[in-house]
Amino acid sequence: MNIDTAEALSLDERSQVSFSQLLVLSGLSDDDLRELVEHGALTPVDPSASSWMFTSYCVVVARKASRLSRDFELDAHAVSILLGFVEKIEALENELHALRAGARR
Protein backbone atom coordinates (compact mmCIF):
# COMPACT_ATOMS: atom_id res chain seq x y z
CA MET A 1 0.00 0.00 0.00
CA ASN A 2 1.33 3.43 -0.94
CA ILE A 3 1.23 5.88 1.97
CA ASP A 4 1.83 9.61 1.59
CA THR A 5 4.66 11.00 3.68
CA ALA A 6 3.50 13.76 6.02
CA GLU A 7 5.76 16.58 7.15
CA ALA A 8 6.44 16.88 10.89
CA LEU A 9 6.55 20.49 12.07
CA SER A 10 8.90 21.60 14.82
CA LEU A 11 7.23 23.19 17.82
CA ASP A 12 9.91 25.78 18.56
CA GLU A 13 10.65 29.46 19.04
CA ARG A 14 10.78 30.24 15.32
CA SER A 15 7.31 29.53 13.94
CA GLN A 16 4.20 31.15 15.38
CA VAL A 17 0.54 30.31 16.01
CA SER A 18 -2.40 32.62 16.60
CA PHE A 19 -4.50 32.74 19.79
CA SER A 20 -7.36 30.86 18.10
CA GLN A 21 -5.00 28.22 16.69
CA LEU A 22 -3.52 27.73 20.15
CA LEU A 23 -7.04 27.24 21.54
CA VAL A 24 -7.80 24.50 19.00
CA LEU A 25 -4.42 22.78 19.33
CA SER A 26 -4.40 22.76 23.14
CA GLY A 27 -8.07 22.06 23.86
CA LEU A 28 -8.00 24.87 26.46
CA SER A 29 -10.96 27.20 26.85
CA ASP A 30 -10.67 30.87 25.90
CA ASP A 31 -10.86 31.89 29.59
CA ASP A 32 -8.24 29.35 30.72
CA LEU A 33 -5.82 30.41 27.99
CA ARG A 34 -6.21 34.10 28.90
CA GLU A 35 -5.71 33.25 32.57
CA LEU A 36 -2.52 31.29 31.80
CA VAL A 37 -1.21 34.37 29.99
CA GLU A 38 -2.23 36.56 32.92
CA HIS A 39 -0.31 34.30 35.35
CA GLY A 40 2.75 34.31 33.10
CA ALA A 41 2.62 30.60 32.18
CA LEU A 42 2.39 31.60 28.50
CA THR A 43 3.69 34.79 26.96
CA PRO A 44 2.51 36.17 23.61
CA VAL A 45 5.24 37.31 21.22
CA ASP A 46 3.94 40.87 21.61
CA PRO A 47 1.67 41.11 24.68
CA SER A 48 0.59 44.63 23.67
CA ALA A 49 -0.64 43.53 20.23
CA SER A 50 -4.41 43.58 19.62
CA SER A 51 -4.40 39.94 18.49
CA TRP A 52 -1.93 37.73 20.28
CA MET A 53 0.54 35.49 18.49
CA PHE A 54 2.59 32.81 20.26
CA THR A 55 5.69 30.85 19.35
CA SER A 56 4.74 27.34 18.33
CA TYR A 57 6.64 26.03 21.40
CA CYS A 58 3.69 27.48 23.38
CA VAL A 59 1.62 24.63 21.87
CA VAL A 60 3.74 22.21 23.94
CA VAL A 61 3.23 24.28 27.12
CA ALA A 62 -0.50 24.86 26.50
CA ARG A 63 -1.13 21.16 25.86
CA LYS A 64 0.76 20.33 29.04
CA ALA A 65 -1.41 22.87 30.89
CA SER A 66 -4.51 21.28 29.41
CA ARG A 67 -3.42 17.79 30.54
CA LEU A 68 -2.46 18.95 34.05
CA SER A 69 -5.75 20.83 34.42
CA ARG A 70 -7.79 17.82 33.28
CA ASP A 71 -5.84 15.05 35.01
CA PHE A 72 -5.30 16.78 38.37
CA GLU A 73 -8.57 18.73 38.25
CA LEU A 74 -6.74 22.07 38.75
CA ASP A 75 -7.76 25.62 37.90
CA ALA A 76 -5.60 27.85 35.68
CA HIS A 77 -3.90 29.50 38.64
CA ALA A 78 -2.76 26.18 40.14
CA VAL A 79 -1.70 24.96 36.68
CA SER A 80 0.43 28.11 36.24
CA ILE A 81 2.24 27.48 39.53
CA LEU A 82 2.76 23.81 38.67
CA LEU A 83 4.02 24.70 35.17
CA GLY A 84 6.50 27.11 36.75
CA PHE A 85 7.96 24.30 38.88
CA VAL A 86 7.97 21.83 35.99
CA GLU A 87 9.78 24.40 33.82
CA LYS A 88 12.35 25.02 36.55
CA ILE A 89 13.00 21.30 36.94
CA GLU A 90 13.36 20.90 33.18
CA ALA A 91 15.86 23.79 33.05
CA LEU A 92 17.91 22.22 35.85
CA GLU A 93 17.76 18.82 34.15
CA ASN A 94 18.96 20.37 30.88
CA GLU A 95 21.82 22.05 32.71
CA LEU A 96 22.76 18.79 34.41
CA HIS A 97 22.53 16.98 31.09
CA ALA A 98 24.82 19.58 29.45
CA LEU A 99 27.34 19.25 32.29
CA ARG A 100 27.30 15.46 32.01
CA ALA A 101 27.63 15.58 28.23
CA GLY A 102 30.57 17.99 28.54
CA ALA A 103 32.30 15.96 31.23
CA ARG A 104 34.88 13.54 29.88
CA ARG A 105 34.18 9.87 30.42
Binding site: M1, I3, D4, T5, A6, E7, A8, L9, S10, L11, D12, R14, V24, L25, G27, S29, S56, V59, V60, R63, K64, S66, R67, L68, R70, D71, F72, L82, V86, N94, H97, A98, R100, A101, G102, A103, R104, R105
Partner: protein, 325 residues
Protein backbone atom coordinates in the same frame (compact mmCIF):
# COMPACT_ATOMS: atom_id res chain seq x y z
CA UNK B 1 -12.56 -7.94 23.99
CA UNK B 2 -9.87 -8.02 26.67
CA UNK B 3 -10.87 -7.42 30.28
CA UNK B 4 -9.13 -4.69 32.29
CA UNK B 5 -9.56 -4.68 36.05
CA UNK B 6 -10.00 -0.97 36.72
CA UNK B 7 -10.24 -1.52 40.48
CA UNK B 8 -6.96 -3.39 40.56
CA UNK B 9 -5.28 -0.71 38.40
CA UNK B 10 -6.21 1.96 40.95
CA UNK B 11 -5.51 -0.41 43.88
CA UNK B 12 -8.99 -0.09 45.42
CA UNK B 13 -11.63 -2.61 46.49
CA UNK B 14 -14.65 -3.20 44.23
CA UNK B 15 -16.87 -1.57 46.87
CA UNK B 16 -14.60 1.47 47.32
CA UNK B 17 -16.37 4.81 47.82
CA UNK B 18 -16.15 7.56 45.19
CA UNK B 19 -13.92 9.48 47.58
CA UNK B 20 -11.52 6.53 48.00
CA UNK B 21 -11.35 6.14 44.21
CA UNK B 22 -10.54 9.82 43.79
CA UNK B 23 -7.84 9.67 46.50
CA UNK B 24 -6.25 6.56 44.97
CA UNK B 25 -6.24 8.14 41.50
CA UNK B 26 -4.70 11.39 42.76
CA UNK B 27 -1.96 9.54 44.62
CA UNK B 28 -1.08 7.48 41.56
CA UNK B 29 -1.39 10.47 39.21
CA UNK B 30 1.14 12.38 41.32
CA UNK B 31 3.53 9.45 40.92
CA UNK B 32 2.97 8.58 37.27
CA UNK B 33 1.65 11.62 35.41
CA UNK B 34 4.07 11.92 32.48
CA UNK B 35 4.35 15.71 32.88
CA UNK B 36 5.55 15.52 36.48
CA UNK B 37 7.00 12.01 36.80
CA UNK B 38 10.32 10.48 35.87
CA UNK B 39 9.24 6.90 36.65
CA UNK B 40 9.97 4.32 33.99
CA UNK B 41 6.93 3.68 31.76
CA UNK B 42 5.13 6.58 33.48
CA UNK B 43 3.14 7.43 30.37
CA UNK B 44 1.92 3.89 29.86
CA UNK B 45 1.06 3.44 33.54
CA UNK B 46 -0.72 6.78 33.72
CA UNK B 47 -2.74 6.05 30.59
CA UNK B 48 -4.25 2.92 32.14
CA UNK B 49 -4.99 4.59 35.49
CA UNK B 50 -6.59 7.62 33.76
CA UNK B 51 -8.71 5.16 31.78
CA UNK B 52 -9.68 3.37 35.00
CA UNK B 53 -10.56 6.63 36.76
CA UNK B 54 -12.55 7.90 33.77
CA UNK B 55 -14.86 4.90 34.22
CA UNK B 56 -14.94 4.52 38.01
CA UNK B 57 -15.57 8.21 38.78
CA UNK B 58 -18.73 8.18 36.68
CA UNK B 59 -21.54 6.29 38.51
CA UNK B 60 -23.22 5.27 35.24
CA UNK B 61 -20.04 3.94 33.66
CA UNK B 62 -18.99 2.29 36.92
CA UNK B 63 -22.32 0.43 37.12
CA UNK B 64 -21.95 -0.66 33.50
CA UNK B 65 -18.38 -1.82 34.18
CA UNK B 66 -19.45 -3.72 37.33
CA UNK B 67 -22.18 -5.46 35.35
CA UNK B 68 -19.55 -6.86 32.99
CA UNK B 69 -18.54 -9.14 35.87
CA UNK B 70 -15.12 -9.80 37.28
CA UNK B 71 -12.53 -11.51 35.11
CA UNK B 72 -8.79 -11.92 35.13
CA UNK B 73 -6.94 -8.95 33.63
CA UNK B 74 -6.26 -9.56 29.94
CA UNK B 75 -8.84 -12.36 29.70
CA UNK B 76 -11.05 -12.40 26.59
CA UNK B 77 -14.71 -11.88 27.48
CA UNK B 78 -18.06 -10.71 26.12
CA UNK B 79 -20.59 -8.52 27.90
CA UNK B 80 -23.59 -10.46 29.32
CA UNK B 81 -26.56 -10.69 26.89
CA UNK B 82 -28.63 -8.07 28.75
CA UNK B 83 -25.75 -5.61 29.05
CA UNK B 84 -26.50 -3.71 25.82
CA UNK B 85 -30.20 -3.17 26.65
CA UNK B 86 -29.43 -2.06 30.19
CA UNK B 87 -26.51 0.31 29.63
CA UNK B 88 -26.42 1.16 25.97
CA UNK B 89 -30.15 1.59 25.40
CA UNK B 90 -30.82 4.03 22.58
CA UNK B 91 -27.19 3.98 21.57
CA UNK B 92 -26.03 2.33 18.36
CA UNK B 93 -24.84 -0.67 20.42
CA UNK B 94 -26.04 -3.89 18.86
CA UNK B 95 -28.95 -4.70 21.12
CA UNK B 96 -29.30 -8.23 19.83
CA UNK B 97 -25.93 -9.03 21.32
CA UNK B 98 -24.63 -10.31 17.98
CA UNK B 99 -21.86 -7.74 17.78
CA UNK B 100 -18.31 -8.94 17.30
CA UNK B 101 -16.27 -7.79 20.29
CA UNK B 102 -12.86 -9.08 19.26
CA UNK B 103 -11.40 -5.74 18.14
CA UNK B 104 -13.28 -3.53 20.59
CA UNK B 105 -11.39 -1.86 23.40
CA UNK B 106 -13.13 -1.82 26.77
CA UNK B 107 -12.40 1.90 27.22
CA UNK B 108 -13.94 2.72 23.82
CA UNK B 109 -17.04 0.69 24.70
CA UNK B 110 -17.54 2.47 28.04
CA UNK B 111 -16.67 5.90 26.61
CA UNK B 112 -19.37 5.37 23.99
CA UNK B 113 -22.04 5.17 26.72
CA UNK B 114 -21.94 8.92 27.28
CA UNK B 115 -20.53 9.97 23.93
CA UNK B 116 -17.30 10.64 25.74
CA UNK B 117 -14.91 9.71 23.00
CA UNK B 118 -14.12 13.34 22.18
CA UNK B 119 -11.94 13.71 25.26
CA UNK B 120 -9.86 16.83 24.84
CA UNK B 121 -10.08 18.71 21.61
CA UNK B 122 -13.61 19.59 20.57
CA UNK B 123 -15.18 18.06 23.65
CA UNK B 124 -17.08 21.24 24.42
CA UNK B 125 -18.99 21.15 21.18
CA UNK B 126 -21.30 18.53 22.70
CA UNK B 127 -24.28 16.88 21.10
CA UNK B 128 -24.17 13.66 19.15
CA UNK B 129 -25.11 15.41 15.92
CA UNK B 130 -22.45 18.15 16.16
CA UNK B 131 -19.27 17.68 14.16
CA UNK B 132 -16.57 16.18 16.40
CA UNK B 133 -12.93 16.90 15.50
CA UNK B 134 -10.76 13.80 15.40
CA UNK B 135 -8.71 13.02 18.51
CA UNK B 136 -5.02 13.89 18.65
CA UNK B 137 -2.59 11.00 18.90
CA UNK B 138 0.75 11.05 20.66
CA UNK B 139 3.68 8.75 19.96
CA UNK B 140 7.21 8.45 21.25
CA UNK B 141 9.74 8.04 18.45
CA UNK B 142 13.27 6.78 19.04
CA UNK B 143 15.74 7.79 16.36
CA UNK B 144 19.50 7.50 16.01
CA UNK B 145 21.80 10.51 16.27
CA UNK B 146 22.59 10.14 12.57
CA UNK B 147 18.85 10.29 11.76
CA UNK B 148 18.51 13.41 13.92
CA UNK B 149 21.53 14.96 12.21
CA UNK B 150 20.45 14.32 8.62
CA UNK B 151 16.66 14.20 9.04
CA UNK B 152 14.78 10.98 8.35
CA UNK B 153 11.57 9.31 7.34
CA UNK B 154 9.84 7.08 9.86
CA UNK B 155 6.89 4.73 9.73
CA UNK B 156 4.60 4.43 12.71
CA UNK B 157 2.15 1.63 13.29
CA UNK B 158 -0.68 2.90 15.47
CA UNK B 159 -3.75 1.15 16.77
CA UNK B 160 -6.63 3.57 16.36
CA UNK B 161 -10.40 3.43 16.93
CA UNK B 162 -12.55 3.40 13.80
CA UNK B 163 -16.30 3.74 14.18
CA UNK B 164 -18.69 1.42 12.39
CA UNK B 165 -22.12 2.57 11.18
CA UNK B 166 -23.57 1.76 14.62
CA UNK B 167 -21.04 4.05 16.29
CA UNK B 168 -19.06 1.21 17.88
CA UNK B 169 -15.32 1.79 17.98
CA UNK B 170 -13.14 -0.99 16.57
CA UNK B 171 -9.38 -0.95 16.99
CA UNK B 172 -7.69 -1.05 13.59
CA UNK B 173 -4.03 -0.83 12.63
CA UNK B 174 -3.04 2.47 11.02
CA UNK B 175 0.32 3.13 9.39
CA UNK B 176 1.65 6.68 9.16
CA UNK B 177 4.76 7.82 7.28
CA UNK B 178 6.37 10.99 8.60
CA UNK B 179 9.33 13.07 7.46
CA UNK B 180 11.31 14.23 10.52
CA UNK B 181 13.27 17.43 9.76
CA UNK B 182 17.04 17.53 10.24
CA UNK B 183 18.40 18.90 13.49
CA UNK B 184 15.74 17.62 15.89
CA UNK B 185 16.96 17.28 19.45
CA UNK B 186 16.30 14.84 22.27
CA UNK B 187 12.96 15.65 23.95
CA UNK B 188 11.73 17.83 21.11
CA UNK B 189 8.03 17.74 20.21
CA UNK B 190 6.82 17.70 16.63
CA UNK B 191 3.32 18.13 15.24
CA UNK B 192 2.05 16.30 12.19
CA UNK B 193 -1.12 18.12 11.14
CA UNK B 194 -4.11 15.99 10.17
CA UNK B 195 -2.53 12.65 11.05
CA UNK B 196 -4.54 12.08 14.23
CA UNK B 197 -7.95 10.41 14.34
CA UNK B 198 -10.62 11.05 11.71
CA UNK B 199 -13.17 13.78 12.43
CA UNK B 200 -16.87 12.92 12.58
CA UNK B 201 -19.62 14.57 10.54
CA UNK B 202 -17.30 16.73 8.45
CA UNK B 203 -15.05 17.88 11.29
CA UNK B 204 -11.28 18.01 10.68
CA UNK B 205 -8.95 15.17 11.62
CA UNK B 206 -6.82 15.46 14.75
CA UNK B 207 -3.07 15.89 14.76
CA UNK B 208 -0.27 13.48 15.56
CA UNK B 209 2.26 14.66 18.14
CA UNK B 210 5.70 13.07 18.21
CA UNK B 211 7.97 13.04 21.24
CA UNK B 212 11.51 12.65 19.86
CA UNK B 213 13.99 10.54 21.80
CA UNK B 214 17.53 10.43 20.42
CA UNK B 215 19.21 7.12 21.21
CA UNK B 216 22.45 7.06 23.16
CA UNK B 217 25.39 7.01 20.75
CA UNK B 218 28.59 5.01 21.22
CA UNK B 219 30.78 8.08 20.54
CA UNK B 220 28.74 11.27 20.77
CA UNK B 221 26.82 12.78 23.67
CA UNK B 222 24.22 15.44 22.98
CA UNK B 223 23.07 18.54 24.79
CA UNK B 224 20.47 20.37 22.76
CA UNK B 225 22.11 20.99 19.40
CA UNK B 226 25.66 20.63 20.75
CA UNK B 227 27.60 17.38 20.46
CA UNK B 228 30.44 16.15 22.65
CA UNK B 229 33.02 13.50 21.84
CA UNK B 230 35.98 12.30 23.89
CA UNK B 231 39.31 12.81 22.12
CA UNK B 232 41.97 10.44 23.51
CA UNK B 233 45.54 11.74 23.10
CA UNK B 234 48.86 10.14 23.98
CA UNK B 235 50.90 12.28 26.44
CA UNK B 236 53.44 13.21 23.73
CA UNK B 237 50.63 14.24 21.32
CA UNK B 238 49.24 16.59 23.99
CA UNK B 239 52.71 18.05 24.67
CA UNK B 240 53.91 18.38 21.09
CA UNK B 241 50.60 18.99 19.36
CA UNK B 242 49.28 16.88 16.51
CA UNK B 243 46.67 16.58 13.82
CA UNK B 244 43.98 13.92 14.28
CA UNK B 245 41.07 12.62 12.28
CA UNK B 246 37.97 13.32 14.34
CA UNK B 247 34.70 11.52 13.63
CA UNK B 248 31.58 13.71 13.24
CA UNK B 249 28.06 12.61 12.23
CA UNK B 250 28.80 14.15 8.80
CA UNK B 251 32.05 12.21 8.38
CA UNK B 252 35.60 12.52 9.70
CA UNK B 253 37.31 15.91 9.77
CA UNK B 254 40.96 16.88 10.41
CA UNK B 255 41.48 18.57 13.77
CA UNK B 256 44.66 20.38 14.73
CA UNK B 257 45.55 19.81 18.37
CA UNK B 258 47.79 22.64 19.61
CA UNK B 259 50.97 21.93 21.56
CA UNK B 260 50.48 21.96 25.34
CA UNK B 261 46.87 20.75 25.24
CA UNK B 262 45.57 19.85 28.71
CA UNK B 263 43.37 16.95 29.78
CA UNK B 264 39.71 18.03 29.96
CA UNK B 265 40.24 20.88 27.52
CA UNK B 266 37.35 21.33 25.08
CA UNK B 267 38.30 21.90 21.46
CA UNK B 268 35.34 23.52 19.69
CA UNK B 269 34.42 22.72 16.11
CA UNK B 270 31.99 25.52 15.33
CA UNK B 271 28.82 24.58 13.47
CA UNK B 272 29.51 20.82 13.49
CA UNK B 273 26.62 20.02 15.85
CA UNK B 274 22.97 19.48 15.00
CA UNK B 275 21.68 22.08 12.61
CA UNK B 276 18.15 23.18 11.74
CA UNK B 277 17.42 25.00 8.48
CA UNK B 278 17.62 28.77 8.99
CA UNK B 279 19.07 28.50 12.49
CA UNK B 280 22.57 28.86 13.88
CA UNK B 281 23.94 25.30 14.05
CA UNK B 282 25.16 23.68 17.25
CA UNK B 283 28.86 23.02 17.91
CA UNK B 284 30.88 19.87 18.29
CA UNK B 285 33.21 19.78 21.30
CA UNK B 286 36.14 17.38 21.41
CA UNK B 287 37.06 16.77 25.06
CA UNK B 288 40.69 15.90 25.53
CA UNK B 289 41.46 12.74 27.46
CA UNK B 290 45.14 11.94 28.02
CA UNK B 291 45.64 8.20 27.91
CA UNK B 292 48.80 6.39 28.83
CA UNK B 293 50.02 3.12 27.35
CA UNK B 294 49.53 0.28 29.80
CA UNK B 295 52.04 -1.96 28.07
CA UNK B 296 55.46 -0.49 27.18
CA UNK B 297 58.46 -2.28 25.80
CA UNK B 298 62.03 -1.83 27.08
CA UNK B 299 62.94 0.90 24.57
CA UNK B 300 59.86 2.95 25.47
CA UNK B 301 60.51 2.48 29.17
CA UNK B 302 64.05 3.77 28.68
CA UNK B 303 62.74 6.88 26.90
CA UNK B 304 60.24 7.60 29.69
CA UNK B 305 63.00 7.12 32.25
CA UNK B 306 65.19 9.55 30.33
CA UNK B 307 62.33 12.06 30.19
CA UNK B 308 61.72 11.65 33.90
CA UNK B 309 65.37 12.40 34.67
CA UNK B 310 65.57 15.36 32.28
CA UNK B 311 62.22 17.10 32.83
CA UNK B 312 61.83 19.89 35.37
CA UNK B 313 58.05 19.67 35.16
CA UNK B 314 56.35 19.37 38.57
CA UNK B 315 52.64 18.56 38.14
CA UNK B 316 52.10 19.01 41.93
CA UNK B 317 53.84 22.34 42.38
CA UNK B 318 50.59 23.94 43.58
CA UNK B 319 50.52 21.53 46.57
CA UNK B 320 53.53 23.20 48.17
CA UNK B 321 52.50 26.70 47.00
CA UNK B 322 49.09 26.09 48.59
CA UNK B 323 50.70 24.89 51.86
CA UNK B 324 52.85 28.07 52.05
CA UNK B 325 49.84 30.38 51.55
Amino acid sequence: MKYKDYYKILGVARDASADDIKKAYRKLARKYHPDVSKEANAEERFKEMAEAYETLKDPEKRAAFDHLGSHAAGQEFRPPPDWGQQYASGSPFDQTGQSAFDDIDLADLLAGLTGGRSRGRGARQGGREAPIPGPDYEAMVRITLEQAFHGTEIELDLSVPEYDDRGLAHRVPHRVKVRVPKGVTDGQKLRVPGKGGKGMKGAPAGDLYLDIQVQTHALFRTSGQDLYVDLPLAPWEAVLGTSVELPTPAGAVALKVPAGTRAGQQLRLAGRGLSRPGEKPGNLFAIVVIVVPTVVDEAERALFRQLSETSKFDPRAHFTQGAAA
